[in-house]
C-alpha cells in the first residue's frame, strides 16, 4: 500500500501555556483533495504552518513525503503553497512574478521556464494579461495567478489556505474548477483549508473538522453526513388544529418534531418515514404541502462545531 503523502501524528502546539493544537493526527493520501475545516481560531493555519516548517511543534510530528519541510530545503521543491495572502509582487507583471518564482524553485532552463509560465497563464486564463502589473489585478485574478505561482515548479502537493476567500461567486467557480482540474488532470494532492463548506463538499473526498485545537471529526464527507444525518420532512396543513393533532400523535410515538403555526417539521431516522406518514394519511387531515429536507455539509458542520 502506498504511504500517505502527509502524515501528522500527535501534533501539539502550545503558545504561552495555551494549547493551540492538542494532539492532532491525520494522514493525507496521494491524489486526494483533503479538506481542513474549523471555525476561526481553531488552529487550522497553525497546523499548516507546522506542516510547512514555518513553526515548530511542541511535540508530535508533521511529515510531508516522509520528510520534514523545515529541515529539507530540497523537499520544498515538491510542494506548492497558496497562503491567505497571494505572495505576489505588485510592481512586477504576472509573467515576471512567475519567472521569479520559477527561478527560486530551481527551473533553470530559460525556454522551459517560458514554456511553463505561458502554459500556466493559459490554464488560469491570464495569458492576455501577462504583461500587466499585478498591482492592477482584481482579487479574483490575483488568486488565479497565485494558483499558477504555486504550480510553476510542478509540485506533488499543493497546500491552499482559503483559496476562494473574498472572491465574487463567478471568480469562486473559476478557482474551484481550477482546483478540481489540478487534482484530476495533474495528479496533485491538495490540502485545502476553507470556510466555504459548499466548496469543500464539492471538491474534497475527505475532511477533518478542527474545533479548539482538536480534531472532532475525520472521515469522508459521505460517511460524516450519514453518521450525523437527521432527515426531516415539513408538512403544512390547511388549519392549525390538524397540525396540533399530528403533534399529539408524534408525542405518543416518541418522534421528534417542531411545530410552527400550521406547519410541522418531523425528524426521522433512515427509512421509518412511511411509519410516520401512513397514519397521518389515514387520519384524513388536509395536507396542503410536503417538503423533504436532506442536511448539507453545512448542517453537519454546525452540529459538530456546536457539539450537537
Amino acid at each position: 500500500m502506498e504511504q500517505p503523502v502527509i502524515i501528522v501524528e500527535n501534533l501539539v502546539k502550545k503558545i504561552n501555556d495555551r494549547f493551540i493544537l492538542n494532539n492532532i493526527s491525520f494522514n493525507v493520501e496521494r491524489r486526494e483533495i483533503f479538506g481542513y475545516l474549523g471555525p476561526n481560531g481553531a488552529g487550522k493555519t497553525t497546523t499548516l504552518r507546522i506542516i510547512l516548517g514555518l513553526m515548530r511543534p511542541t511535540s508530535g510530528k508533521a511529515l510531508v513525503l516522509e520528510g520534514n519541510l523545515s529541515k529539507d530545503i530540497n523537499l520544498r521543491r515538491k510542494v506548492g503553497v497558496i497562503l491567505e495572502n497571494d505572495g505576489l509582487y505588485n510592481k512586477l507583471t504576472a509573467y515576471e512574478n512567475l519567472d521569479f518564482y520559477s527561478r527560486i524553485y530551481g527551473v533553470s532552463n530559460s525556454s522551459e521556464r517560458d514554456r511553463r509560465i505561458k502554459k500556466l497563464l493559459d490554464l488560469v486564463g491570464l495569458y492576455d494579461e501577462k504583461d500587466k502589473k499585478v498591482g492592477y489585478y482584481s482579487r479574483g485574478m490575483r488568486r488565479r495567478l497565485a494558483i499558477a505561482r504555486a504550480l510553476i515548479h510542478d509540485p506533488e502537493i499543493v497546500f491552499m489556505d482559503e483559496p476562494t476567500s473574498g472572491l465574487d461567486p463567478e471568480a469562486k467557480i473559476i478557482v474551484r474548477n481550477l482546483i478540481f482540474q489540478l487534482a484530476r488532470e495533474r495528479d496533485v494532492t491538495i490540502f485545502l483549508i476553507s470556510h466555504d463548506l459548499d466548496e469543500v463538499e464539492r471538491l474534497c473526498s475527505r475532511v477533518a473538522i478542527l474545533v479548539g485545537g482538536r480534531i472532532v471529526a475525520l472521515d469522508t464527507i459521505r460517511r460524516l453526513m450519514h453518521s450525523l444525518e437527521r432527515r426531516s420532512i415539513e408538512i403544512t396543513f390547511k388549519n392549525m388544529q390538524d397540525a396540533m393533532e399530528v403533534a399529539k400523535y408524534l408525542d405518543n410515538m416518541g418522534i421528534l418534531y417542531n411545530l410552527r403555526g400550521n406547519s410541522i417539521r418531523i425528524f426521522y431516522q433512515d427509512s421509518n418515514i412511511s411509519r410516520v406518514l401512513k397514519p397521518l394519511v389515514m387520519m384524513g387531515l388536509k395536507i396542503i404541502d410536503i417538503k423533504g429536507n436532506v442536511e448539507s455539509l453545512y448542517d453537519v458542520y454546525l452540529k459538530i462545531v456546536r457539539g450537537g
Binding site: 504552518r49 510547512l52 516548517g53 514555518l54 513553526m55 515548530r56 519541510l69 523545515s70 530545503i73 530540497n74 520544498r76 521543491r77 510542494v79 503553497v81 497562503l83 491567505e84 495572502n85 497571494d86 505572495g87 505576489l88 509582487y89 505588485n90 510592481k91 512586477l92 515576471e96 521569479f100 518564482y101 527561478r103 527560486i104 524553485y105 530551481g106 533553470s108 502589473k133
Partner: protein, 224 residues
Amino acid sequence: MVNISLISTLVKKEFIEVIRDKSLGASLFSILLFMGIFLFTTRERPSYLMNTFIPYISLIIGLIVGFSLSNSIVREKREGVIETILCSPMKLKELWLGKTLSISIMSAVIAVLSTCIILMLNNYEPDLTMIFYILFTVPFFILACIGLLSLIYFYLGMRQIQIANYILFISIFLILFTILKINITTEITWRTINIITSFSVTTFIITFYIIDYADIEKIILTLE
C-alpha cells in the same frame, strides 16, 4: 552555504521593483532638496569645513535612501510575500542577503553620486583619503547598517517597526543637528577610515552569522 544564483535572482527582482516604485522618486527628491540646502549653506565656507561635512553628508544620504528602501521588507511582511518565500527553497539567510545587498547597492550608488556632485559644485578636489572613504568606507557602512536594519525589520511586529522608524528618524536628525551645531574640525584620516570600515565589516559579519540562528517562527508570529 548560500545559493548565489537565488540571491542574484532576488537582487535583480528588487532592482526592477525599486525602479518602478514611486518611493525612489520621493527619496531622490528629498536628497536633491537636502543637497540644495547643503550647497546653499556651505557656499561661503572654507574648504576645511567641506572636508568635515562631506563624510557625514555622504553617510546620511546613503542611510536615508537605504532606510526608505528597507520599507519594502515591512510591506512584503504585511502582504504575506515573506511567508510565501519562506516556504520556498530560499533560506532566510539568502532572503536577508538578497534584500540587504540590493538596498545597499542602490543606496551606496546614490550616496556616492550625490557626494561627487556636491564636491564638483563646490570645486573641491578630494585627496586620496577622501576618495577611498567615499568609494569604500561609505558603501561598507551602508551595507552594515542596512543588514542590521533588515534583520530588525524581520523580527519586529508592525507596531514595533513604526516605533523603531520614529526612533531612527529622530536619531538621524539629532546626529545631523549636533554635527551642524558644534564645530567639529576632525578631518577624514586613514585612522578614521580604518575604524569605520572595521566597525562596518565586523557588524556585517556578526549579522551574517546571527541570521543562521534566526527563529523563523518568531518572524511568522510578527505577521499577525
